[in-house]
Symmetry: C2
DNA sequence: AATAAATATTAGGCTAGCCTAATATTATAG
DNA sequence: CTATAATATTAGGCTAGCCTAATATTTATT
């Protein structure tokens, strides 16, 4: 079994690979984990010996298949626990991250599969992130950043890329919720503000910064 | 916040104090934790500095009030998670211990109180052990070992002192379940076997060894 | 009370996972 | 192409929590 530290590295590497393509840099990992580069070099050497990551000198490193499977398992656990915390225990979507970060390290395949069934096999977590099934397969769903859409486009708000409490609370405040159908009414040339029309004819204006953290599907 | 190692010590000390009175010996703790005595001495010195335990040279040590509160908090978490695993996820009572041992170290007061509410404030865990409330108070319930009862006594089977899979499976096999009303029909002089009559007029015979791990109330 | 047995403590080591400081390598700019 | 900046690695240290071996202290036995 992997240690919590290792699991955190695996998850972080996976996410960096998803976001920035193939190879990941020591510095990038150090930054997202809040750990010094020397320590990362250290740890990666160990994980490399365990065949969790493969790395080419000065090109960076990436997960091996074994590492990828492990990473997806952790992401699955994290997201399922988030669903549990929100759907069953009544936490708000901005409160669950830290607790799920702990719960994701509980070791028991049986536990997580039973939890999955108990939650009725959810496909996404409370932030709209996809949850891989027991085999590690994600139900593919294409989504784009609101920031990339042109006036007139429409779709459904299905996810966020910023999971901070500050951001999530802001969305709650302006009344934008996961699942809302939206239409881009206007994109202001001058400051890139987006004017959106929501299903119930309400309209909201969000900054480019916000639009850049909202995922739209369909 | 306390480390998992510390929490395991706290819980073990608490249980030893419950079982064997006031002072706990280094050796006893080493034995139940499966750790060498020298390591225990080490750790206790640290916990002593943190005022979690108080120890008098060569008399042993005991929890301080602070340590006791912490220990009860961990026990509360362990038992609530066990209820969750059995009642909600469908685990059997003999399967939950190891997973609960991990879950009990998740740090979040809010989580555990919400879990408690979600489970509808259970008073006992799947093995009949009492669950302290959020203030650390146990709903007192007097129980005695079946082994101490005389023929003719009756009561309700409300707990076990042996949590091993082997033992719990044996009880399942002979059809003895938590909550069953029982009456001691006979105690064989020769081998101390107990003949019990269950509510639905079934009768079962258990050895002294088994009787010594069954708690009877009322 | 003297000795053996049991119990406890000290001393020195080890690993995981982090740190700082120093050095090496690679990329970028003039 | 060289100087500087950015990135990566090595070397040496630290803490938590464990270990073994050696030593000390208690308790029990004769």
């Amino acid at each position: 079994m992997h240690s919590s530290a290792e699991e955190n590295y695996l998850k972080a590497i996976y996410k960096l690979q998803e976001a920035n393509g193939e190879m990941v840099a020591t510095s990038a990992l150090a930054q997202v984990l809040g750990i010094h580069m020397a320590s990362v070099t250290d740890m990666l050497k160990k994980m490399s010996n365990k065949k969790l990551v493969a790395y080419q000198k000065s090109k960076g490193f990436k997960l091996t298949e074994k590492g990828r499977v492990a990473a997806i398992g952790i992401i699955r656990k994290h997201r399922l626990w988030e669903v549990f915390l929100v759907d069953k225990l009544g936490f708000r979507w901005d409160e669950v991250h830290d607790i799920a970060e702990q719960l994701e390290h509980i070791h028991s395949l049986e536990l997580i599969d039973k939890l999955d069934a108990y939650l009725d096999f959810p496909k996404t977590d409370p932030h709209g992130d996809p949850i891989p099934d027991a085999k590690g397969v994600f139900a593919i769903s294409k989504s784009v950043l609101l920031a990339s859409l042109l006036p007139g486009s429409q779709g459904k708000f299905t996810g966020v890329t910023d999971h901070s409490s500050a951001f999530l609370n802001y969305l709650d405040k302006i009344g934008l919720s996961l699942g809302d159908s939206i239409k881009v009414k206007e994109v202001e040339e001058f400051d890139k503000n987006f004017t959106l029309v929501l299903k119930g004819k309400k309209s909201v204006i969000v900054s480019f910064k916000v639009a850049n953290s909202l995922l739209i599907s369909e």
